[in-house]
Point group: C2
Chain length 352, copies 2
Amino acid sequence: MTILHDALAKIQAIDPLLLEKAQAKLDNKTKPLGSLGRLEEFAGRFAAISGSLEPDTAKKVIFTFAADHGVVEEGISAFPKEVTPQMVFNFLSGGAGINVLGRHGGTDVRVVDMGVDYDFGDLPGLIDRKIARGTANIAKGPAMTRQQAVAALEAGIVLANGCRNEGIAMIGTGEMGIGNTTAASAIIATLSGLPVKQVTSRGTGINDAALANKIRVIEQAIQVNRPDPTDALDILTKVGGLEIAGIAGLIIGCAANRIPVVVDGFISTSGALIAVGLNPLIRDYLFAAHESVEIGHRYMLDHLAAEPILDLQLRLGEGTGAALAMGLIEAGVKIMKEMATFSEAGVAEQQQ
Amino acid sequence: MTILHDALAKIQAIDPLLLEKAQAKLDNKTKPLGSLGRLEEFAGRFAAISGSLEPDTAKKVIFTFAADHGVVEEGISAFPKEVTPQMVFNFLSGGAGINVLGRHGGTDVRVVDMGVDYDFGDLPGLIDRKIARGTANIAKGPAMTRQQAVAALEAGIVLANGCRNEGIAMIGTGEMGIGNTTAASAIIATLSGLPVKQVTSRGTGINDAALANKIRVIEQAIQVNRPDPTDALDILTKVGGLEIAGIAGLIIGCAANRIPVVVDGFISTSGALIAVGLNPLIRDYLFAAHESVEIGHRYMLDHLAAEPILDLQLRLGEGTGAALAMGLIEAGVKIMKEMATFSEAGVAEQQQ
């Protein structure tokens, strides 16, 4: 519990003066005031989070956390649970969507086993933080013990601490876990109090009958476990997932280490909700990568008061939306660092 | 007139079979069907336009066309017209927004003088296609002669033809020209028949009084010139701009050479409207980079039935939105080319 407690205690509010200084710097560049819109917002927030008006963005990492979900036995997914380890192998051999987009953006992709129901042995490239071989079936009882939830959070925090030592400038979140949209919907339903059917959709692509079943299963999970909506750790323990816990921990660790963190889609944002539930200051360290097709995502973003960067109708996860958004955030930072000022370029300033 | 005529005659409809083949290829990749949303759309359209399921995206170029506008003497801009040549020097020394974003995305930026009211002499790096030292004041008469409009269109076409020979995979449009939102608003007002005030906003950042004046000036320009809404060349000649003509020509040339072309914001899209007005098949070769803050842009996009890729509240022009969108389109193409298939990766397929 010490690692979690220390990280949460270390998080400070971002410095509003740095936001102002960054905007003043941007306002002096050869462009009409504010004309680069959200790129300027990204640059300003990046400066305020990292504490620098000249942040280095060369080193970027996405962590893709993998875990299984006992609730898959309720028939809530279009894919069999064997796909979770199969995709881990795919990540490690570079053939998955996140690998392609990571390479495209110059971002390192690191795969973390938080709780896959498969014995990988000593597999090169895989970061082994396995807490259990998947969660228990949330339709029948809690997903994990409170100790397991804390251990998974702390695993994520330790990864972020390591990134600080490596000089990583920006971190993205990602995940793989057959069944994990069920856990994410359960989390936002609990936090928001909204009817389950309003925050639940088709995940990887189930049909109408399976969707009706998925909604029933989530309603049952909430009824059986009665997670406390005001206690993020309780929600995570009862209806969460081990990869979601890893993401939440990573986000906490990023905030504690002043590393901007780019939250991918529906599952990753459920991890962000847990992190922000444990310390509301974390909100200022987040970038919301995109708006997912999953209908519950809009409510998550509202809960975080986060404006997504992209809307490309994505619903793959893995960190794919984060990989794309990181390129846009980096573009904003480069605008702040590299553009010429009016006086450097000898360009006349605005008259009105 | 031969170059324009030949290019327009050469343009063919894209092959729907290639769209299908691209989707079939994407559907075999290790992801739920359709889960990469618009990235899949970009990949499919890129394949159909270029005629290849394995298009090479290594070489990308943005053309930033610069020109002056006689209408500036009516006080419609927040910046003095001297800023047009000053920004050309800024582009050539690499300090402008488009230079930063071009470098970020690995895209070459080429600057074309279509009609700047300044004698650059023989300036290294500048592509000299000057038709005139700016347009005439559209509040008093036509912007240019029909011969000048055709010459400017043909200059753009010839640039696209050169790119085909160079093996350029994708082209973006951009511009610089103090006063050019006035011309772009006049173009969409003419084409759509909408009231000028509904398609006119603040450009680089004018105040309320200057905006009211700008609207009056555009109304006057349309009244004085009476451009024919059904004749794109007439609209270009009477209320257009030389950089807008260059963009329209470039787009025509891209379609004739089957090169995907990424249209930047408000001004660039006015060029696309002219191109599509001359041959409606061109529509299929366009990607709309982003939705601009300029209120008239929405009507332009509707007119083209184009869905913008980004919404980042940009209003700088130069090609900055195109530079960002090109990175996302390229990401989609790489997904189609580089991701592993289910059988390659040994991953089980969808059950429902």
